[in-house]
Symmetry: C2
Subunit: 419 residues, 2 copies
């Protein structure tokens, strides 16, 4: 049942807001708990965010990295899905207000609605740069990059030179720049023979002196060298002052022409979170106690990217979100059993970033450091395993394998319907 | 090079307008002919039309039935692709005018730009019905069907009852109605447990007394029975008088409520063809001589759905288009060698239509008739083989196989980004 049309059952109601890594982990963990779960999300599908840069470069189908949330909910007898955005949280009455105008009661609430791009107030960034934090946005980047190439190849009047500027040298920016460089190096000469490949450029701008800050210096240098080898124009130690329609102004005064600017500098909570009346910290993250309950609320949890522990925030990655979602579900079970909550302890499973075909960096806890093909194979296997369903796993594996084996020959990309 | 930016080479220039079955067959056949080929299409990709109904029901990825035309052209050293619509044909000066304003000269022209839906002037049909003749349109149907289900499941005010009316009982209509019935029978109970499956209905309206007119009576009856068994509300011998926003008015006076109306009654040439000054026949088809040259023009061929021979039109199917495209290319080779043209002889390879999972009808030349699972397996194998690239073939096979094996359990569908 779990919706406001149906009478509230005798079982406690848990509402999970957001069906990303954290929300899905919570739903899975609540499977055997004697509660009714209502899963809410603005989209009717879950998005596997780590492969959005592949969607943005035409490498995988949008449908291969998304999974129907109704199909997901159907796996759990105690769970229902409803497509809705949360517009308000009434913690006193324990009700959540939805964009449809309806409101729904809860006994426990898990907030894990993720984050969005942080433009840090840079002039023009929000208006003129694109992001790849949602499937819609990634498809938009793909269609824009490909129509720009077509316009330039046709020599159309007003076609902007095919330069993509990626702002931000974290994992998102590095993966995007690496994939674009590959499109340029391998795809362009085949698919756009009338275009001088030298005209197409990929620029990566990073304020720090290194890419991939969370990695140790050796891997950072390796990644920077690997990007440069692929022809990425790496601008380190330079900030972005302004983003204009067709150029990016850097702190050293240079104005880099840009047909597509991709913003990957960092994230912040969605604006609507601030209407919920919860205490927020840096980047708008909801502040939580060590047990992941929102400060001042005994029945509201916040986990994943949107939450930050007052005693030290976890990194905004898939693993802390998955572990956090699971933790919140377990604490609800404990509370229902009359037990006290436990603090959340994040178990670091390591970090990885891919630079391109057959090349990645992996940093595991302890001393294990991988780079190159071995790291990439590990990255590939882990990502495919993590995809949501058998369906996606197999199809994505087929897609990526065929792409890996044939792409140098075929240069096929997945295309949208740009105007 | 083959575009107007480049000087015309010494080799004869062949322009192929439209990259469907006919256009791609022509390009392939011209591979070893000493000509420069310019392939034009409004879209940057080829669409495998026979599986559009699967896109429209969330069964396959749009990207799995489309193939980059630049990647296709890259396989043929004498071929270039350009994304453009043809707005005019100047047969006297042998030039083709493009929507960009440019015009391009040709020595031989192959027109194979396909067809679009024919609304036969039925009031409201063009405004209120949807088609599945393009990828964009099929995605639109999918998104509309799924958002309607979500609205109804949420009990939103003004949500139209989940009834889909398919108009036209040819192969397109039958395949669409069959796939929708499956979505209703298998997917709905799992994914929309709050919705009474009886409320969701699929209605198929056909003016004739039978579905699948080109098939022999035994297979027609088999298909009708199979659709009824799947719960399709079959209305035979009834015409559509009017299509309104939320209902379809039949010739017997009944007004069938309809959340989504799909128009599959037949096809006609695109409007822009009439501006080309060529003789057109029924359904706007360009009239061609037995050798597939346009009546009155010795250097212009028309093949595929858009063409009709004055001595008897071929059916508007993939096979006549493929054979026609190949034929036109061969005739150009003959003309260049100073030989006379040959008449086009269509070799009938049979017809097939799928009704649903494990069920289809196949009618081969001679006496071979197949129905049920064997027919469906044949249909599946043939369609997968026909998909354009290794990439698409493998990924689509994986997609369809996993769907076949797991769908009853998972009910996963591919979803778009409806508002």
């Amino acid at each position: 049942m779990g919706t406001d049309q149906a009478p509230r059952g005798p079982r406690p109601q848990v509402i999970v807001v957001g069906a990303g890594f954290a929300g899905m982990a919570a739903v899975r963990e609540l499977r055997d708990v004697d509660v009714d779960v209502l899963l809410l999300d603005r989209d009717p599908f879950n998005t596997f965010q780590p492969l959005l840069y592949q969607v943005a470069t035409g490498g995988v189908n949008p449908g291969d990295i998304t999974y129907s949330l109704r199909a997901f909910a159907a796996r759990f007898p105690n769970t229902r899905f409803r497509r809705a955005a949360v517009t308000g949280v009434d913690t006193a009455r324990r009700r959540v207000r939805l964009d449809s105008g309806a409101d729904v009661g809860y006994d426990y609430l898990i907030l894990c609605c993720g984050v969005t791009a942080n433009f840090f107030g840079i002039p023009g960034a929000e208006e003129n740069a694109r992001t790849i934090y949602s499937r819609r946005a990634a498809i938009g980047v793909r269609d824009r990059v490909l129509s720009n190439l077509e316009s330039v190849a046709q020599g159309r009047d007003g076609a902007v030179e095919p330069v993509v500027v990626v702002v931000g040298g974290g994992a998102t920016g590095v993966e995007m720049a690496g994939a674009l460089a590959e499109l340029r190096n391998t795809g362009l000469p085949l698919a756009y023979p009338e275009l001088d490949p030298q005209r197409a450029r990929v620029v990566l701008v990073e304020m720090a002196d290194d890419v991939l800050a969370p990695f140790e210096p050796g891997l950072r240098r390796y990644a920077a060298d690997a990007l440069r080898e692929r022809g990425v124009d790496l601008r380190l130690g330079v900030a972005v002052k302004e983003v204009r329609r067709d150029c990016v102004v850097l702190s050293d005064g240079e104005c880099v022409p840009s047909a597509v600017t991709i913003w990957a500098t960092g994230v912040r909570a969605h604006d609507r979170v601030s209407a919920w009346g919860l205490r927020q910290g840096r980047g708008g993250r909801i502040q939580v106690e060590p047990d992941m309950r929102v400060v001042g609320h005994s029945d509201v949890f916040a986990v994943g990217d949107v939450a930050a522990k007052v005693d030290g925030a976890e990194p905004q990655l898939a693993q802390p979100a998955i572990q956090g979602g699971r933790h919140a579900a377990r604490q609800i079970r404990r509370l229902l059993e009359g037990k006290p909550t436990e603090p959340f302890r994040y178990r670091d499973k390591g970090i990885m970033a891919t630079i391109g075909r057959s090349d990645a960096v992996v940093q595991l806890p302890g001393r294990v450091r991988l780079r190159g093909f071995v790291a990439w194979a590990g990255w590939l296997g882990l990502h495919i395993l993590a995809l949501m369903s058998n369906r996606n796993r197999l199809a994505t594996m087929a897609n990526l394998a065929v792409r890996y084996l044939t792409w140098k020959r075929t240069a096929n990309v997945i295309m949208g319907d740009p105007p």
